[in-house]
């Protein structure tokens, strides 16, 4: 007998890969990734690792804005769309547990986003491959992994929104609010807090780790420059205090966001009406 979760995942993944949101994201991410790779190299007028670094800087910013938006929007519609279309009753009348539905939607969101991100990275790396004599594949894969982790954390937030929302419009509004709050407002608020409250490095680190966007930013910067010299005194202090634990701490914090969001989504969805 086939496993229920895999049957659901197969169906949900097929549906997610046909989503217009995801296709739009994949196309734009691929186009932007390729453009950054190409223009980054051209802008420096030379080839080699410096060209690569310029491209990577572009891809970091691309990631931190676009990946969370695509992840939270597409996953926020996953359950509420079924509710609004009235197809939820059909699914719930089948031998399926509600928790299996939630995890299947989350899994399908993460896998489809990973595929879209891989497409963008793939195009960019193909262009870079033409320009570079020596490509640091490990950095590139680490960046890809960080993007997928960031997408997963925001997919968790999106599924949480989807389990609680009563309409697609409401879910979209909440998703955009979460994106603006975590991607834009949080950064400005953090900078203001650092300046006004003179926060110490540990507090800043904790506040950054709590937000998947900031945690990903730190991870990506670390992969490009393991000395964290871009971050000045803060980077030096961070490395002195955490050293080799920096990446595990940041990965854990994002997994924690994913786990907590998913747990709350499971709780809400298990009690929700049609």
């Amino acid at each position: 007998m086939k496993v229920t979760s895999l049957i659901l995942l197969k169906r949900d993944l097929s549906s997610a890969l046909r989503s217009r949101w995801l296709l739009g994201f994949a196309a734009s991410f691929a186009a932007m990734g390729a453009s950054f790779a190409y223009l980054g190299a051209l802008g420096l007028g030379e080839v080699g690792f410096r060209a690569y670094s310029a491209s990577v800087a572009g891809i970091i910013n691309l990631n931190l804005y676009v990946v969370p938006l695509a992840a939270v929007v597409s996953s926020s519609l996953s359950l509420v769309a079924e509710r609004e279309r009235g197809t939820l009753e059909f699914l719930l009348s089948l031998p399926v547990a509600r928790w299996e539905m939630v995890l299947s939607r989350l899994g399908a969101s993460v896998l489809s986003l990973a595929a879209a991100i891989a497409l963008g990275y793939g195009l960019a790396s193909w262009i870079l491959w033409l320009l570079l004599t020596e490509v640091d594949l490990w950095i590139y894969l680490s960046m890809f992994g960080t993007s997928v982790l960031l997408a997963s954390a925001f997919a968790g937030i999106g599924v949480l929104i989807s389990s609680a929302a009563r309409s697609r419009f409401g879910a979209l509004a909440l998703a955009l609010g979460a994106w603006i709050g975590l991607v834009m407002v949080y950064e400005v608020a953090l900078m203001a807090a650092v300046i006004l409250l003179r926060l110490d490095s540990v507090t800043v680190m904790v506040l950054m780790a709590l937000n998947p966007v900031q945690a990903s930013r730190l991870m990506m910067v670390y992969y490009v420059d393991p000395t964290l010299s871009f971050l000045g005194e803060f980077g030096v202090t961070l490395l002195r205090q955490l050293g080799g634990s920096l990446i595990p701490v940041l990965v854990s914090s994002q997994l924690a966001v994913l786990s907590v969001s998913t747990a709350i989504a499971l709780l809400i969805f298990s009690k929700s009406e049609l």
Binding site: I7, V96, K271
Partner: protein, 274 residues
């Protein structure tokens, strides 16, 4: 072991009480017509039995506790919802494949769709089917896996006369095969004689569970034929609608001017003292 056992069922939606102290037992192989006016709680009761809605009280199906073993209950129970809504982008074939996978059975497409005249539509997207075809598909899907318990919520709501005949014959076959069948209707249809028992819901409470022959005996005469004559409108009451219409035609009445009124549930409840 009862096929369905409901004890002290209570269901609320916010402040509104939809079902209060509902208890009923359905023996294995028994057929029950669940009647009640709109808003009496029929749909809610069936959804609770399927474990689609959360509830207070106890419900078991084939000895399985709905709260604890909801997934297994849905494996042994076929359910046809009142408002059939499927994922529109899926084809009929994909839905059959999906449901049979979840129920853990291998099926022949023609065996599932053939009795409902849907074999030709197997590769058509569900969104392109008519309301009647969707209703027939819902019944076909509910019967996948040869469930021992079958619940149908207003299965005639979207069907034309020919399809109603097909479904009525199907119900008779299922009952003859010894399946446990519960069908809800909001009008008193000509179906009572097909079932062994009639359960009546009123304002969220079980008003009574009667033997069908008792209901038929007490309700007679059931149909009202309103007929225009030279003196205005005349009303005739009859049990045998077709014989009465035939007699009227033979007497030279213009039946294009006549209309037939089925007895409503209130009348039925009054007849049986519910």
């Amino acid at each position: 072991m009862k096929a369905i056992e409901v004890r002290g069922l209570r269901k609320t939606f916010g402040e509104r009480v939809a079902l209060e102290s509902v208890s009923m037992q359905v023996e294995k192989g028994e057929s029950v017509l669940l009647m009640g006016p709109n808003g009496s709680g029929k749909t809610t009761l069936l959804r609770c039995v399927m474990g689609i809605l959360d509830f207070e009280g106890e419900i078991s199906v084939m000895g399985l506790d709905v709260k604890r073993d909801g997934k297994e209950v849905r494996r042994v129970t076929g359910y046809v919802p009142q408002h059939v809504r499927f994922p529109e982008e899926a084809t009929v074939y994909e839905l059959v494949d999906f449901v049979s996978d979840l129920k853990g059975v291998d099926v022949e497409l023609d065996d599932v769709l053939g009795p409902f005249g849907l074999t030709e539509a197997s590769h058509v997207k569900v969104g392109a089917l008519s309301g009647g075809m969707k209703q027939r598909l819902a019944i076909a899907l509910a019967l996948i896996g040869d469930p021992q318990v079958i619940l149908m919520d207003e299965p005639f709501s979207n069907l034309d006369a020919a399809s109603r005949g097909v479904v009525t014959e199907l119900l008779k076959t299922l009952i003859e095969e010894g399946k446990t069948v519960v069908v809800s209707v909001h009008t008193v249809s000509g179906l009572i004689h097909v079932f062994e028992k009639v359960a009546v819901l009123r304002d969220g409470r079980m008003a009574g569970l009667f033997r069908a022959e008792e209901v038929l005996r007490k309700m007679r005469p059931s149909y009202r034929i309103h007929l225009r004559t030279g003196n205005g409108w005349t009303t005739l009451r009859t049990d045998d609608l077709f014989a009465a219409l035939s007699r009227l035609r033979n007497e030279g009445h213009d039946l294009r001017e006549a209309w037939v009124e089925e007895p409503d549930v209130e009348e039925l409840m009054g007849s049986v003292g519910a």
